[in-house]
């Protein structure tokens, strides 16, 4: 391996057989290149999907209701189901151990929002203090609705960055200004932003109690929102949240006399379940990328083997001459393998460096939905290079060995 004479001999051979070297190198380099890019995009998709879910709290559970579709205990189908405060309170006390953030919401119907005679079209919702965390909102200014606002039925409102920008044009300080909601003045106490993007920032929030009492909602609730206490691992989290959703659903069905098999009346959306589905899908996609990648590598190996076969065939005569001049069989095998390993290694690393460089350079700028910062695990990439080198050497060994052991006479007669 460190025989300088042999290296010189190999460099001579490579220098004088540029096309052959180039073709071998190209098939190896492109194989590695394609594999790394594929794996990079697999990782990119994983990052992208993970990010999509990070934007919303990923273990969110939402309950909403519709009309019943099944007759149950003598009650006709088509009966609307209305969640009420007592349901919310009951769930809060019964599941207090597993719940982290909780909130109900109530849409204020036909709310007319005005600011200084200017009418703006935003929806108004009554929420609890936990809503901020359930929806992954952050505060840009001031504070969120808190328990005291709820308790005191305060006429306070929280607006978003978008609303602030549109109404106050960024020039005025919105805090302590008053919004007119259907003729009632609400003091602005905070400005929120939503991790989920600006489409989530079209809402004005007021305390739940205020929404119910001031806007004649009595004790009605539209939706329930929950997040659960974090647990050790993902599977456990899924199991925990499934159990909670099922228990809660059963309670609500019971409380509202809904058939347990009514698929429409009470609906529970569990993001973790969705996340799990996405993770399964993502694993499938990753597996697919690996499969394609490995096929590419196999194609590369076959390519290298093919070239090695041709190289050996083409050099049969030369091998005969070398043997006649006193080359030992092992020196022939060594020469051919040394050359092929050298070429495979160099081009493998070229492919690796090129593809990883491309991912490093362009990766951070790729901002497509579901693909974020494609990158590849360096160890995986370098292992594939070694696999390819090894496979190339193994593929080259047999023809080389055969060539080294054929009779000189046969080799010299080879035209």
């Amino acid at each position: 391996m460190f025989d300088i004479e042999r290296w010189q001999e190999i460099f001579d051979t490579i220098r004088k057989n540029k096309l052959r070297t180039f073709l071998t190198g190209l098939s190896v380099a492109s194989g590695i290149f394609i594999l790394v890019i594929l794996l990079g995009f697999g990782q990119g998709m994983q990052n992208g999907i993970a990010q999509e879910f990070e934007e919303d709290a990923s273990n969110r559970i939402i309950v909403w209701t519709q009309v019943t579709t099944k007759e149950h205990k003598g009650l006709n189908p088509g009966r609307p189901i209305q969640i009420r405060n007592e349901n919310y309170d009951f769930i809060e006390s019964k599941f207090s151990e597993v719940l982290k953030d909780k909130s109900a919401n109530l849409f204020v119907s036909n709310a007319q929002v005005n600011y200084k005679k200017e009418s703006v079209g935003y929806s108004v919702q009554g929420v609890h203090d936990g809503f901020q965390f359930v929806e992954n909102q952050y505060m840009s200014q001031g504070r969120y609705i808190n328990y005291h606002d709820h308790k005191n039925v305060s006429k306070v409102a929280v607006i978003s960055n978008v609303i602030k920008r549109e109404i106050f044009k960024n020039s005025e300080d919105p805090l302590n200004e008053y919004l007119d909601i259907s003729g009632i003045k609400f003091k602005i106490i905070g400005v929120y932003g939503d991790m989920g993007g600006e489409r989530e920032e079209e809402r004005i929030f007021i305390p739940m109690s205020t929404a119910q009492r001031v806007f004649n909602g009595s004790d009605k609730i539209n939706n329930l929102y929950y997040t659960l206490q974090p647990v050790e691992n993902f599977d456990q989290a899924v199991a925990e949240s499934m159990r909670f959703s099922n228990d809660m659903k059963r309670y609500l069905q019971d409380a509202h006399t809904v058939a347990p098999d009514d698929l429409s009346a009470i609906n529970v959306f569990n993001t973790l379940e969705e996340v799990k589905r996405f993770f399964t899908l993502m694993n499938g996609i990753k597996l697919f990328f690996w499969f394609v990648g490995i096929c590419t590598i196999i194609a590369g190996v076959v390519g290298v083997s093919n070239i090695m076969l041709i190289v050996v065939k083409e050099r049969t005569r030369e091998i005969g001459v070398r043997k006649a001049l006193g080359a030992k069989p092992w020196s022939i095998v060594g020469m051919i393998l040394h050359e092929s390993i050298f070429v495979t290694a160099i081009s493998g690393f070229v492919g690796l460096i090129f593809s990883m460089g491309l991912l490093e350079l362009l990766g951070p700028y790729i901002e497509v939905d579901y693909i974020v910062n494609p990158s590849v695990n360096f160890n995986v990439a370098i292992s594939t290079v070694f696999v390819l080198i090894f496979a190339g050497a193994a593929a080259g060994f047999f023809p080389a060995w055969r060539a080294a052991n054929i009779h000189v006479i046969d080799a010299l007669r080879d035209e």
Binding site: Q8, D12, P329, V408
Partner: protein, 221 residues
């Protein structure tokens, strides 16, 4: 230098003394190439003995055969068998590479032999830039470079026109004059008569083995 005794083909027995220039003649199929291959350790005899420079050549594995070939034998082929991507100098230096001689010394020695065959100016040329005669001279220089005991030439003039053939034979004669043992396989009568001894082969047996008066190739050049 040594003696060669062997029993090959259908019972062949002869000894070539050191410094001899022997022609092995015969029509195609007479076994002359086979004989040369056995002498060159490129092929193995089924039975019989072969002693080269006092060393019995038998039970050779590939590695040992390679070593002996490198040490004892130089080959000249009809079709030259130069490595086409190597320059004349590199071709001549190749057997020295297998003797593990350092590159610099290799090239110096190769240059010396190229000079001897009159191709010093062509050292950096590739084989396909040389004429047939020049190629064969490079091949002879290559065969001589390892300073072998015996030079084996298989139809060395087979691919050459007669003028060039005589040039090559002239070269071989000069090398022989320096005391090198040379065996030439040929089917051409005039070439055979430029050697000092002719062994006639027919159907695998020696039909005639005679010393001849050597015709100097230089007379024709």
């Amino acid at each position: 230098m040594g003696s060669n005794s062997l029993h090959v083909l259908k019972g062949i027995n002869f000894t070539a003394e050191s410094g001899e220039l022997v022609a092995i003649m015969g029509s195609s199929g007479s076994g002359k190439s086979t004989l040369l291959n056995i002498l060159g350790m490129l092929d193995e005899a089924d039975s019989g003995e072969y002693t080269l420079d006092g060393v019995p050549i038998k039970n050779l594995n590939e590695t040992k055969a390679a070593k002996y070939r490198n040490k004892f034998l130089g080959f000249v082929f009809q079709s030259f068998n130069l490595i086409n991507y190597k320059s004349a100098l590199e071709n001549v230096a190749l057997p020295l590479y297998y003797q593990r001689i350092p590159r610099k010394e290799r090239q110096e020695r190769a240059m010396k032999y190229l000079e001897q065959v009159g191709l010093k100016e062509w050292a950096t040329h590739l084989p396909n830039e040389l004429s047939g005669g020049q190629k064969q001279r490079v091949a002879i220089a290559r065969a001589m470079a390892a300073e072998p005991k015996v030079l084996l030439a298989d139809e060395p003039t087979g691919a050459l026109d007669s003028t060039t053939s005589y040039e090559v034979m002239d070269l071989l004669q000069k090398i022989n004059d320096l005391g090198n043992t040379i065996l030439v396989v040929t089917h051409e009568n005039d070439i055979a008569h430029m050697c000092k001894r002719i062994i006639y082969l027919k159907d695998g047996v020696i039909v005639k083995d005679e010393k001849v008066k050597q015709v100097r190739a230089s007379e024709y050049v």
